[in-house]
């Protein structure tokens, strides 16, 4: 029963969503879909509470045991509850100046900083991948050099102002790269559709726990 009931609910709701997404003209189904979407939002909001409890448990234990780096755990909990309490008790709205300040001056720059570190990760990944250890790696290296030089003025300058490298880069992007990407996309779309149908029919139960071994 522990698996059969969720599977039955999953099948009924999946059929409902398929009908709601493909068909028009039934007010009942549209209303039901809107109601279910609202339920999903409510469940998500409550799930945040579950996640917060999990974070508090993990970092609370770390602080109590004074494990290495416990100061960072304390800082994390202070920020988590600090932002939450200040938002609920003082700002009370996402439009409040103070809340906007905290978001725009703290969270946004921190996000941008982490995003910016990608530059270094790209550099180190490229160094490891582009070493000429095999024929494939050599092709990758040559393609990457053409792509990079084709995208910057230096490439044009090296060829005395001729745009050949840029044209080659455009061709690589729009012909072999697009062909490869679309092949993968077609396979992935069919795979996604098959997975969705397997879940809908209750054949795939991995998300309910266990692999059916």
């Amino acid at each position: 029963m522990k698996k059969e009931v969720p599977m039955a609910i999953c099948f009924i709701l999946a059929v409902l969503y398929v009908v709601a997404n493909y068909f028009t003209g039934s007010k009942f189904i549209t209303t039901l879909k809107t109601t279910l979407d609202d339920w999903f939002l409510i469940v998500t909001a409550w799930a945040v509470l579950v996640g917060t409890v999990n974070l508090t448990q993990i970092h609370g234990r770390r602080i109590r045991a004074k494990r290495e780096g416990y100061v960072f755990s304390a800082w994390l909990l202070a920020c988590l509850y600090g932002m939450m309490l200040v938002s609920i008790l003082i700002f009370r709205s996402a439009n409040a100046i103070g809340w906007k300040f905290m978001y725009n001056q703290l969270i946004a720059p921190m996000n941008a900083t982490v995003y910016a570190t990608l530059v270094f990760y790209i550099g180190s990944a490229a160094y490891r991948s582009f070493r000429m250890r095999s024929l494939e790696a050599t092709i990758l290296l040559v393609t990457a050099v053409v792509m990079m030089l084709g995208r910057v003025p230096l490439g044009r300058m090296l060829l005395g102002g001729r745009p050949y490298l840029g044209q080659m880069a455009d061709w690589i992007l729009s012909v072999p790269n697009s062909a490869g990407m679309r092949g993968i996309q077609i396979g992935a779309c069919l795979g996604g559709l098959a997975t969705a149908l397997r879940i809908m029919l209750g054949i795939e139960r991995g998300h309910l726990g266990g692999t059916g071994e």
Binding site: I107, V114, A125, L190, G212
Partner: protein, 257 residues
């Protein structure tokens, strides 16, 4: 009720695909031989990666990506998590499963908990090893980076829907010396995973993982329907190429119905 405009072709394609899927499943249930599935190195390496962690006494890190629960990639990742959790439970290896999506987190927890129960070791399940880090993409990336540096997992399994954080995870895992298995259907992230990881499940291989790992004939049978779909796709591309070359818009009009 009528089918929405521009959705007619997609609806009938889905129905035909569903019918072929059911046919293959019924054939597999009747005991008709299922064709062999080609070797997927990334999935075969799962046991090797977990074994490495067991030998080294270090944990396995698993991330189902940052997609939400409606994303088929996340659900495929959950199936892989079930397998990984079971193997980790069998060999008494710690599994750190990190989550970004708040709805995916309790599902992950339940899957890991059930895996420990299924192998008869429910007491070995550590609730603190299934973690929700943050709902924010880069806060999650930072949290995982911290875990990789502090807890030094010997295997890093990244399967699911990934976006810009994919390379951060993969590079940090490489720096931590972990054996890395990744998989995503997000085409723009595949090159990053291919460049930085030891094994990569490309596109549909991710969705075939549960069938491949469980070796259930019914699930393997459903993969055949996928292959039929690909063949139809190839035929449509060829016919479309010929028709577009002679400026015949018949197929284009049919697809956009």
């Amino acid at each position: 009720m009528t089918i929405l405009k521009t959705y007619v072709f997609a609806f009938w394609v889905e129905m035909i695909f569903l019918a072929s899927l059911i046919t293959m499943i019924l054939r597999a249930r009747q005991g008709v031989k299922v064709p062999a599935v080609y070797k997927v190195a990334g999935l075969d390496a799962m046991d090797e990666a977990i074994g490495r962690c067991t030998e080294m006494g270090r944990p396995v890190h698993f991330s189902p990506g940052i997609g939400d629960v409606q994303n088929a990639q996340t659900l495929a990742a959950m199936s892989i998590l079930g397998y990984v959790a079971k193997q980790c439970a069998r060999y008494d290896t710690d599994l750190i499963a990190t989550n970004r999506n708040i709805i995916v987190y309790p599902i992950s927890e339940e899957i890991v908990k059930q895996a420990y129960s299924e192998v008869g070791k429910p007491d070995n399940f550590k609730i603190e090893n299934v973690r929700w880090i943050s709902d924010d993409q880069f806060a999650y990336a930072t949290g995982v980076t911290g875990i990789m540096y502090r807890e030094k997992p010997a295997a890093n399994i990244l399967v699911g829907a990934f976006w810009a954080e994919s390379l951060i995870f993969a590079e940090v895992g490489a720096n931590a010396g972990a054996i890395q298995i990744s998989g995503t259907a997000n085409t723009h992230q595949i090159p990053f995973f291919v460049a930085a990881c030891d094994y990569c499940l490309i596109g549909e291989e991710l969705y075939a993982a549960s069938a491949y790992l469980s070796k259930e004939p019914v699930l393997l049978g459903s993969l055949v329907a996928q292959d039929w779909g690909k063949m139809v796709g190839v035929i449509l591309i060829l016919v479309g190429t010929v028709l577009a070359s002679v400026k015949n818009p018949w197929l284009k009009n049919l697809l956009s119905k």
